[in-house]
């Protein structure tokens, strides 16, 4: 009970007159209207259209899609690899952000610039680059093309910047004095990390992880050349959806897309819950 009231009080702060909390001024109601309209045109209406198309055959479409072994294999591969890559990004991305913010070394600014390239590059080009480096003619002697590792590799490549870019500004804002204070009060290095740094960066890590996961489950371009799109082995959901569309089967395509929408939503929600738990514990 007291938490609820506390929460409400915080929300009231900064709204000016407490009595008129819910009254929107002319300007802000127009703003809200524009936002909702823009959001509807770009996001809500298209998403509703996908769900409606998928529902064209009732539950039938979903059941058919889920019981089709090839689609099921694609879903398992895509979600599994995306979770794996998101996990890797949480660790590596946070580490990279830490190094970029806290350490000084030659080439730091260059590294900071280059981080975004995997994201900025057209994904088909990313696929070509990865194929020439880690394909059959790899100068490094590593050939992952047409295997599941190629999916991991491509997803890790295109999602690298997300966690780095969300954690970096938070770390930069984090005052080193607080850590020093913790240390002077007798906290060990790990305690400081766990009780001071982690709670501060966790929301950013979670946001980055959500972006990275969402990007990974929808990836197409970098995989078309590298993964070989072999049914049951390296075929991801987006390739499967494309096959349905090519075959004129929009219902199945929309059903599969809706299922992925649900997966994305579930993971983003789970990350949010996790993030709140960890932040509260600290």
């Amino acid at each position: 009970m007291s938490t609820a009231v506390l929460g409400q009080d915080t929300r009231a702060v900064g709204r000016g007159r407490p009595g008129a909390r819910w009254t929107l001024t002319g300007g802000s109601s127009l703003g809200l209207g524009v936002v909702l309209l823009w959001f509807s045109l770009l996001v809500l209406i298209p998403l509703a259209a996908i769900v409606a198309t998928a529902g064209g055959e009732g539950w039938h479409g979903y059941v058919d899609t889920l019981t089709n072994p090839q689609s099921w294999a694609a879903i398992k591969l895509t979600v599994g690899q995306s979770l794996l890559v998101t996990g890797v990004n949480v660790v590596m991305g946070t580490l990279i952000a830490w190094v970029l913010v806290r350490d000084r070394f030659v080439g730091k600014r260059l590294l900071d610039l280059v981080i975004d390239i995997p994201f900025a590059m057209p994904t088909i080009v990313a696929g070509l680059v990865l194929l020439s480096l880690y394909g059959p003619r790899s100068p490094l002697g590593v050939n992952v093309s047409n295997t599941q590792s190629s999916v991991t590799l491509a997803l890790a490549f295109v999602t690298l910047p997300f966690v780095v870019r969300t954690v970096q500004p938070v770390l930069a804002e984090l005052d080193a004095d607080v850590e020093e204070a913790a240390a002077s009060l007798g906290a060990s290095r790990t305690t400081t990390l766990r009780r001071v740094v982690l709670p501060a960066v966790i929301p950013a890590v979670a946001a980055g992880a959500a972006l990275s996961f969402a990007r990974a489950i929808s990836e197409y371009g970098s995989l078309v050349l590298l993964s070989g799109s072999l049914p049951f082995r390296t075929e991801v959901v987006s390739v499967r959806v494309l096959s349905f569309i090519e075959g004129g089967d929009r219902t199945s395509a929309a059903a599969l897309a809706t299922i992925m929408l649900g997966v994305a939503l579930a993971v983003i929600l789970a990350l949010d819950v996790l993030q709140r738990r960890v932040a509260r514990r600290g």
């Binding site: 819910w22 929107l24 090839q70 059959p136 070989g228 390739v239 349905f244 090519e246 089967d249």
Partner: protein, 362 residues
């Protein structure tokens, strides 16, 4: 406690109030902005339609034509009929292009990879029903299914049967997402069904073995070529014209035209609301001059008597060797309608079933 309860109550009321106000605000904003947005969209549509004047042709074609069409267009513009005609071109995967036109992309002429992509435009009322009533039955360019191999053909691949030998790594685009792959798979099927003692069952076994040797199934013909050029696989099932183009571009590959293969036929059609110049352009494309230019890009002419040297071919003086046993969709598969439903239907198709029953590459 009572104080808190009251607070919660008034909170709920206020929230409901707010929701109502937000809805109202959103409604007002939508009402204000929607006509503006619609007007803007209509404006785009109008400017899109405005390009349909007599001296402007919009060509929508499948990807490979991008380079092949350039010399044809510039040659047409030098003819009396083509003087002053401006061109807009759009190239992409055949199915995508067909759907784009059905979805409103303006086209005076479509030139697609396979007949069903034109047929869907006939069904949509954008292409006349009798589009294929000409000397070439609506076909503008031909090619055949060939084997693209590494330079010098190190594995000595000469026939379809060589492709199913153990250890041979084959690449073909995915028949689920690529029209060109359908030609490849049907060619393999026709080979096995037509062989002495061949049958549908034998053909099914053969295609199963072939798909078992497949190491990658990229989404389109060009992706498959890129994958092969990057070093994947021993053999790429490809169009002859793509193979010629790759060789002409200096890639370290050779191609083998098997003794029996499938004739690839790319249709072209003028749309119902096309400008009159579109018909002139199609006539030019079908003329000996037009066909010679397509031949230079690697396409087999659809009319007889076209002679030209073709860079990139195995034998430039005899660029398109006669195939002893040439299968066609119409003769050997009773047309695309039947072939599509029998082989590629996403639930009952023979090839779909083979693909889903097979752990490819394992």
């Amino acid at each position: 406690m009572t104080y808190m309860t009251q607070r919660v109550e008034s909170e709920t009321k206020e929230r409901a109030d707010m929701t109502r106000r937000i809805r109202l605000a959103a409604l007002v904003a939508s009402a204000l902005a929607a006509p503006a947005a619609l007007a803007a969209l209509a404006g785009c549509a109008a400017s899109n339609g405005a390009t349909a004047d007599a001296n402007h042709l919009s060509i929508v074609g499948f990807s490979v034509l991008k380079t092949a069409n350039e010399p044809v267009i510039s040659a047409f513009r030098k003819t009396p009929a083509g003087k002053g005609v401006e061109f807009t071109t759009s190239y992409g995967a055949s199915g995508d292009q067909s759907r784009a036109v059905a979805g409103g992309l303006h086209a005076d002429e479509v030139h697609l990879s396979l007949t069903p992509d034109v047929q869907s435009l006939v069904d949509a009322g954008l292409v006349g029903k009798n589009w294929d009533q000409n000397a070439t039955h609506g076909i503008l360019t031909d090619s055949v299914v060939v084997f693209l191999v590494r330079k010098g053909n190190p594995l000595g691949i000469t026939s379809w049967d060589d492709l199913v030998k153990p250890g041979v790594k084959v690449i073909t685009p995915s028949p689920a997402s690529s029209g060109s792959a359908k030609w490849n798979i049907l060619a393999a099927w026709a080979h096995a069904a037509d062989a002495p003692g061949g049958s549908a069952g034998k053909a099914k076994d053969f295609v199963t073995k072939l798909l078992h040797n497949t190491v990658a199934m990229p989404g389109s013909g060009s992706d498959a070529l890129a994958s092969f050029l990057a070093g994947n696989g021993d053999v790429l099932l490809a169009y002859e014209n793509d193979s010629i183009e790759a060789r002409a571009a200096g890639d370290a590959v050779d191609y083998v035209v098997p003794r029996d293969t499938l004739l690839i036929e790319n249709p072209a059609a003028v749309t119902t609301d096309a400008s009159s110049k579109a018909r002139d352009f199609l006539d030019f494309q079908l003329s000996p001059a037009g066909q010679a230019l397509y031949a230079k890009a690697g396409f087999r002419p659809v009319i007889s008597g076209v002679r030209t040297k073709v860079p990139g071919t195995n034998d430039p003086s005899n660029p398109f060797p006669k195939v002893p046993h040439l299968y066609t969709i119409d003769r050997d598969f009773v047309g695309w309608d039947k072939a599509n439903s029998e082989f590629f239907d996403d639930k009952t198709g023979v090839i779909t079933k083979i693909l889903s029953g097979l752990n490819i590459g394992s």
